[in-house]
């Protein structure tokens, strides 16, 4: 394993000589899709819990479809499927976008994680104490102000434990990116495997890298929870935690 890592550490970590590869690409895929998914999920979650059927039903349908089908199939649909369509290939803008496996991977990942994140946030919004909403109404807040000042700050915090789970699952899901020719960690491991025939060692290095990222994410989220969920801890425990 050390021998393969000594030979392949550069592509595994940041570059295969021509372009970025390995760890850097995996982290970029993760960060881009999580950021896009988060930004879309907040308004979608508000729509999901809305009493207006015209708002909530389309969102519900979207999350149902994207949570009910495998991410790999979604990626295939966007990458191989879209490019096989006549009108995509003839329109230069669409052609340029769907030609790149990287774009398709980020789009598929963002759509997928957004569906899960929407449901997580919607659950957290529904779980808000109704007294808080009544108090906000009594202060004369508009719905928008109430969401901005009261509901979202509380819901996003309480969603943290589930959200951290989703981020780690998303890290694991980025491994299908190599099927769209994106040179992530797994792609490098496959290259190392086909060059050396040392399967256990090549994929073992990839596995260790993923374990390291997972543990780093878990540690980061634990810190975030300690900071933003401090108000949910029993009163005596707060002082005991060092900041």
């Amino acid at each position: 394993m050390i021998q393969i890592f000594a030979e392949w550490w550069r592509p595994f970590l940041y570059s295969d000589g021509m372009r970025a590869s390995g760890l850097v690409v995996t982290l970029w895929l993760l960060a881009a899709s999580i950021a896009l998914g988060f930004c879309a999920a907040v308004p979608l979650a508000c729509a999901r819990v809305s009493r207006n059927r015209w708002l909530s039903t389309p969102v519900r349908l979207y999350t149902y479809v994207f949570r009910g089908t495998p991410l790999y199939v979604q990626l295939l649909l966007l990458y191989t499927g879209m490019y096989s369509l006549e009108f995509v290939r003839t329109q230069s803008l669409l052609e340029a976008f769907f030609k790149s496996g990287f774009n398709c991977a980020i789009l598929a990942f963002a759509l997928n994680t957004c569906a899960y994140t929407t449901e997580i946030f919607a659950g957290a919004i529904r779980g808000i104490a109704h007294g808080e909403v009544e108090a906000a109404r009594a202060y004369g807040m508009s719905t928008f102000t109430m969401y901005r000042r009261i509901i979202l700050p509380s819901a996003l915090r309480r969603a943290l434990p589930l959200y951290s789970n989703e981020v780690i699952l998303m890290l694991h899901a980025t491994t299908v990116a190599f099927t769209a020719t994106v040179p992530d960690i797994l792609k490098v491991a496959r290259d190392a495997n086909s060059a050396t025939y040392q399967s256990f060692e090549s994929f073992g290095i990839a596995a260790l890298l993923y374990v390291a990222i997972s543990f780093a994410l878990v540690a980061a989220f634990r810190r975030a929870e300690r900071r933003w969920l401090a108000y949910l801890r029993p009163a005596g425990a707060v002082r005991a935690v060092r900041h």
Partner: protein
């Protein structure tokens, strides 16, 4: 015909996917029960092995594990057959797929079952032994039926994730529904349509399992009073 004559191929692929999912579920439930018992055991080495299993497997992506195990199982078997001077024994991709998926999801089921075992009040198990029931009988009559009540939501979740993970086996060369859709799409130049069909098949499977899980949850929550809000 609407599927350009690829209907039977897709149907065979869908059956392969379902068979793979169901068999891996069986393997992973067995592993999960064993793992949960090991995690709750009095023997420290057993606990350590089970903890290492769940922590490691759950922090490595399933696709990486699949490739790692899929290639390594064959190499390990080759090493064994070479060492004993036997003839080469090729493991077929289906068995390898079932074993790898079962091994991976066994770790997730271990955690589900561990929580569920702990949720059954100890006093009931003690009462069972006090009535003179054997360990197996306490398990079958008291622990298992009540554990299922707590474990069902987790089992349902894991099953849905497992079904979706079967889509990855086409990468290691199994003729599942995704592979069938890709082949059909390649030969008809209608990739989008056939992958959409594959997606719909998965949606049908997950929707059907949702219904079954709801029915099971009703069955196992007989006798539980829900708070009325």
């Amino acid at each position: 015909m609407i599927l350009y004559g690829f209907g039977p191929l897709l149907w065979a692929g869908a059956k392969e996917t379902l068979a793979l999912a169901v068999l891996s579920l069986a393997v992973s439930v067995l592993l999960g029960l064993a793992g949960a018992s090991a995690k709750l055991s009095r023997h420290a080495p057993l606990r350590a092995v089970a903890t290492a299993y769940t922590t490691l497997i759950r922090s490595v992506p399933d696709l990486v594990l699949m490739l790692l195990l899929f290639y390594s199982i064959q190499i390990a078997i080759n090493n064994v057959t070479d060492a004993f001077g036997w003839s080469q024994f090729d493991i077929d991709p289906f068995t390898a797929g079932v074993l790898t998926l079962g091994f991976i999801y066994g770790a997730y089921f271990t955690e589900t079952f561990r929580g569920a075992f702990l949720a059954v009040p100890r006093g009931q198990l003690e009462a069972g032994s006090a009535y003179g029931m054997s360990g197996m009988r306490v398990f079958g009559r008291i622990l298992f039926p009540q554990m299922m009540r707590f474990a069902l939501p987790g089992i349902g979740n894991n099953w849905q994730v497992l079904v979706k993970a079967t889509a990855l086996v086409s990468i290691i060369g199994l003729a599942d529904v995704v592979k069938a859709a890709q082949d059909a799409g390649k030969s008809t130049f209608n990739m989008f349509f056939f992958i959409l069909i594959a997606a719909l098949i998965y949606l049908a499977i997950t929707s059907a399992s949702n219904l079954v899980l709801m029915a099971l949850e009703r069955r196992y929550s007989i006798g539980v009073r829900h708070a009325e809000l």
